[in-house]
């Protein structure tokens, strides 16, 4: 509960932090496209190199970055295990019923693991280096064309930024309520599953009540300050593209081109597998 570092903004000043959130979003999308375009390990290696540069220029400590993987470790291991056990191939090492471990299965699993990890790390780099406010501003700006088909983009963006803003508040609240119930001898550590779930009730009921109370209060406060979702709103911080963003854009474009080239010229490269 206390470790909320996954996906949380890491406040330092750096090249990546200063980039325009729209370019960072574009970069993330381009990176994901590159990961899925890559048909061999060379493509993934190219992605990895780019990602290492991103991490280096963001000044986020490497341990913090690796911690993002921990959150999806189960998913990664599970996917890999399924692929190793069920994928058939030419060189079979071991077979039992429908279970089958083959060379192709292992290679494919390794490929999947790399893909997933690159995906997770790159996405969390976005949230490490971009504040929720910047991010929603960026998303709002990117989705602006949708207003043409009557989708209230800025309202959705406001809803999202409020939701993001409230996550740490609710975390803190959870911790407080937990302490209070702990002081009354309630403890969610230990005991069987049913006991654990029942021990959650004294925490969840006050938490949900307080979330509703906060929502009401915030709504009143916004009304009191004449918040109108329909009006055209100006921004406190205007987004502007700079030379950093040009570099980001070029790197993303080069990555995709590189991955495509590596796919095409795969035959000319020496492949270990």
């Amino acid at each position: 509960m206390k470790d909320v570092s996954f996906g949380q903004y890491y406040p330092v000043k750096s090249f990546v932090h200063n980039m325009d959130p729209r370019i960072k979003l574009f970069f993330l999308v381009a990176f994901i496209v590159a990961i899925f375009l890559a048909g061999n390990f060379y493509g993934l290696a190219a992605c990895l190199v780019v990602l290492i540069f991103v991490i280096a220029f963001s000044r986020v400590p490497i341990l913090k970055v690796l911690r993002a993987i921990r959150g999806v470790l189960f998913l990664v291991v599970f996917t890999a295990a399924i692929n190793v056990l069920f994928r058939t191939g030419e060189t079979v090492y071991w077979q039992y019923g429908i279970l089958c471990v083959s060379k192709e299965g292992i290679v494919f699993s390794a490929f999947l693991i790399c893909r997933l990890i690159l995906l997770v790390v790159c996405s969390s780099m976005l949230t490490y280096t971009t504040t929720p406010v910047e991010l929603t501003d960026g998303i709002e700006s990117v989705l602006k064309p949708l207003t043409w088909i009557k989708i209230p983009v800025h309202v959705l963006a406001d809803v999202m930024s409020i939701a993001l803003r409230m996550i740490p508040v609710l975390m803190e609240e959870t911790e407080r309520i937990r302490s209070a119930q702990k002081a009354r001898g309630g403890d969610i550590e230990g005991g069987g599953l049913i006991k654990k779930v029942r021990a959650l009730v004294p925490i969840l009921v006050p938490l949900i009540l307080s979330a509703f109370r906060r929502a009401d209060e915030l709504g009143d406060a916004m009304d009191a300050r004449c918040y109108m979702a329909s009006k055209k709103r100006t921004k406190y911080k205007k987004l502007r593209l700079t030379w950093r963003d040009l570099i980001g854009f070029l790197v993303a474009a080069a990555l995709i081109a590189g991955v495509v080239l590596l796919n095409v010229y795969e035959a000319f490269l020496w492949l270990p597998i």
Binding site: Y10, V12, I177, S179, A183, G185, P202, P206, L209, S210
Partner: protein, 307 residues
């Protein structure tokens, strides 16, 4: 239970850009039987300190087998090992039975009414009782304990026991929440801002309730507050926290004589202390203990009248 804290330090989110030092070498002794006040600004570490007292925040040393004293800042002598002793419980030790400790050191958080959860008042008050019970309690035992706890906080058991706690008024909710903590008869009762958000009458009622508890149920009462009038009026002794340190600790009568110092720390002083200072500027010396009653009596006596 006597409470002795030595060299207590605590940092939130250590080794991260969010690191904040909440306690910095706190030394404090609270004797059994005191009505103790803890004063301080927001973020002065007072809440962090009281959460140590029943083990909600553990001493960092308790995790390691061979704890090292905290690293000293450059150019300063090394800090000795932090120590916290509450009665016979040594909170720096890993073997301490924290359940037993929490049963005897009750803790009422800020706005305790937001922690109510059960369907009836009786269930909510009985929650702590059931958690701390060594064996399963009979319904009669539970009822007797809940009845006594509700009665001492000034609620009628027959009237409220079957009600939903969410149908009560704000003041009543707070009483129920306090009843839910004292139902296990703790020896030490800690309250974080017990009167926050109440109207003046409600504040007086809560303070009267705490005095009653202090006389009848709990040997030691500790309140955290930033309302100086509350401290002057009620406490036998008070400690001032500032930037994670306990800067001084003395009876309010002496404490508020040093009004300038407190103002220098960004703290307020009680109304009576302000009036004393105003009178002093006009050459009138009033020697009072800063409770409203005493101040009024002394002033009347100075004018030659009778109280």
């Amino acid at each position: 239970m006597r409470i002795v804290a030595e060299h207590l330090s605590y940092t939130y989110n250590p080794k991260s850009p969010f690191a904040t030092r909440a306690l910095d070498d706190v030394n404090l002794t609270i004797e059994e039987g005191e009505f103790f006040g803890i004063i301080g600004h927001t973020g002065s570490g007072k809440s962090t300190f009281v959460q140590h007292l029943n083990g909600l925040i553990r001493l960092p040393a308790s995790k390691k087998r061979h704890p090292k004293p905290p690293k000293a800042k450059r150019g300063q002598p090394a800090l000795p090992m932090p120590k916290l002793q509450v009665g016979e419980f040594d909170l720096a030790s890993k073997k301490t039975d924290f359940r037993a400790l929490r049963k005897r050191v009750g803790m009422v958080f800020q706005y305790p009414e937001y922690q109510l959860f059960a369907e009836t008042v009786e269930d909510d008050v009985a929650y702590g009782l059931k958690n701390f019970a060594e064996k399963k309690l009979t319904p009669e035992e539970t009822e007797a304990a809940v009845r006594a706890a509700l009665e001492i906080v000034g609620l009628d058991y027959n009237q409220v026991a079957e009600m939903s706690p969410f149908d009560l008024s704000g003041g009543q909710k707070r009483r129920v929440a306090i009843a839910g903590v004292i139902v296990t008869r703790p020896e030490v009762l800690i309250l974080d801002e017990p009167a926050a958000g109440l109207d003046p009458l409600g504040k007086q009622e809560v303070m009267a309730l705490l005095h009653r508890l202090h006389r009848e149920w709990c040997k030691t009462v500790i309140i955290v507050s930033h309302d100086m009038d509350e401290i002057a009026e009620n406490c036998t002794r008070a400690a001032v926290f500032s930037e994670g340190r306990a800067v001084c600790c003395m009876p309010p009568k002496e404490l508020f004589k040093r009004a300038e110092e407190l103002i220098g720390l960004g703290l307020d002083v009680p109304l009576t202390a302000k009036l004393c200072a105003a009178l002093k500027r006009r050459g009138i010396e009033v020697d009072c203990d800063f409770t409203v009653g005493d101040f009024v009596n002394k002033v009347i006596a100075l004018k030659g009248g009778q109280a």
